[in-house]
Symmetry: C2
Subunit: 339 residues, 2 copies
């Protein structure tokens, strides 16, 4: 497929194949030659700061509803962008903030969301250094959209990236997957479902700092749009090494599992907003796991598979029943606008 | 008035009093204590780069129609943000890009707009270093919204800002005002007007670099939302010095003047996207003017007034008929979504 579509569909925003092709064929094609790396969470800027290397990233936020159990678009706009810096090995320092506010939006709600954003930033000691607001005429906005761009600092010489991944490496996840996707879905009244499930939305900085000095650490990523399966697929696609995961090892909370069964979703494709996937040398896996499990946000961390053993470039899951299934690249939209 | 409104109105986005109050009372209130300066175009980051001081800014773009005579939302997203860096005395270097695309948007149009964005960036030797795309469900977007965050470098020790402005300083503008606002308005079919007028949307970098080493340069700003009048009002409000402008000295193109007369707009409140207002020491005014007039984009530059002579904190315009009128802070929305 090569952009045979002529109109944008929701699937162009889901983190899967259509989105990858849109980015490659429209955005990356025109912006080629720049330092833009569409496969990285954050890029290094060429300035030599005394504190380390400066790292740059950006993210947009359009979650509906704007407030959901465990978070809201304000805190998410801080965590989403700072998490991209964190998995690149950086400590987030500054954010810019763009707010697109729809005419008719309730100012008290706006105030609550921005207070939550400010408190998430303060907790991370991150400063909002620049901002802009635009008002969208009624009927041309979703209440509130946010975009944040972040700058962080990381130690010079830290090499993290898919290019470091080797056959035999272990794959870890820092906690149960899919809770953000399901919590947002339950908060939408149209499904008529209720539950006590909270989104996992949170800063992953403690998790990434815990592994940053591990010599065998090769790669970290927060599995947001498209979930765990999409990160794994991207690793397999880029490295041309197969990925073998073990279903029983992948943590999924019971309420997430039951909603997924009811609605026919695969939890591996659902967004997390506070988890990290790490790929580490096999002989470091136990240390990485111990470090994560010592943290409140890493208690349920697990080694969920390894690089190799599957067909090159593909992701397989060994099922509890002794079978094997492929995790294909996401095409349809399992759950729009979860971030 | 202290946010007696409970809902967001279009006037909260027009660059005038409502917007200032929304920013002060919601955004700045919660984000207090950070380096955020809501009166500056760009802020300095505390890193000591070998090339100079790093400067940071952000801007959102929601112009309708997306393409207008003389520009489009793609090139505007580069010029708008890099112009904010330029008037802060910096050379723009890196941008991040957020695209919010509405479901059903034409991919060929998107491609054209991003190509234009890329070409504006390439012309400025600015790199798009990070990006993100989100798709908005049909009916919750305006086709395409963009946000760009920019990082630039400026010489250490350069002091520009309203705090430098002194009574007696001269006020200059680099070219005719209001063309962007009117060009966008004419591009909207609902007015049934036609004209050959082009938007002034362009990079102001040549203009700002031409004045940057002038010892008497105190302040520069690009008069976007709210136009020349809003910049002048902000200077008067902040410095508590009056501003005296001379109507006959302020360049306005004939088509802009006639459309304004027909529709009852004041050109001084209309957005420019490629002009600079500079405040310089009186003994530097002639040099500044000569430098600007030597540039293609500054040929119609003019000294349009001076600091002082009016009531402290207010802006007066000496009219062609020998009278005097006040330019008050903008309250109503003269022309929504021009940037």
């Amino acid at each position: 497929m090569t952009m045979q579509d002529t109109l944008i569909s929701l699937a162009h925003g889901n983190g899967g194949r259509y989105m990858r092709e849109l980015i490659e064929q429209v955005f990356a094609r025109h912006l080629r030659g720049s330092v833009l790396d569409t496969t990285a969470d954050a890029v290094a800027l060429p300035w030599d700061s005394a504190e380390g290397e400066l790292v740059f990233t950006t993210d947009g936020f359009t979650v509906q509803p704007l407030e959901f159990p465990g978070g809201n678009i304000g805190s998410l706009a801080v965590h989403g962008t700072t998490n991209d810096l964190a998995v690149a090995g950086a400590v987030p320092r500054y954010l810019s903030l763009n707010a697109f506010i729809e005419e008719g939006f309730d100012i008290a709600t706006l105030d609550r969301l921005i207070a939550s954003l400010a408190s998430a930033a303060a907790e991370l000691e991150v400063q909002v250094a620049a901002g802009d607001t635009k008002v969208l005429p009624r009927g041309t906005g979703g209440g509130l959209y946010l975009a944040t761009t972040g700058i962080g600092v990381r130690p010079r010489g830290l090499s993290l990236g898919m290019q470091n991944i080797l056959e035999g490496d272990a794959v870890l996840v820092s906690g149960p997957v899919g809770a953000h996707g399901i919590a947002v879905l339950l908060a939408r009244e149209q499904f008529g479902l209720r539950g006590d499930l909270l989104s996992d939305a949170a800063s992953v900085l403690p998790l990434t700092l815990a592994l940053r000095d591990l010599p065998g650490l090769h790669f970290m990523r927060d599995p947001t749009r498209g979930g765990l399966a999409t990160v794994m697929h991207e690793i397999a696609h880029t490295t041309r090494v197969g990925v073998s995961l073990v279903e029983e090892a992948i943590p999924v909370q019971d309420p997430v599992r039951s909603v997924c069964e009811m609605l026919g979703y695969d939890p591996y494709y659902l967004a997390c907003e506070g988890r990290v996937v790490a790929v580490v040398a096999a002989d470091c896996a136990a240390t990485a796991l111990t470090r994560w499990q010592a943290l409140p946000s890493g208690r349920a961390a697990a080694i969920i598979g390894h690089m190799g053993g599957a067909q090159p470039g593909r992701v397989t899951v060994a099922t509890a029943l002794g079978g094997e299934r492929y995790l294909e690249e996401l095409e349809d939209d399992p759950l729009p606008r979860i971030c």
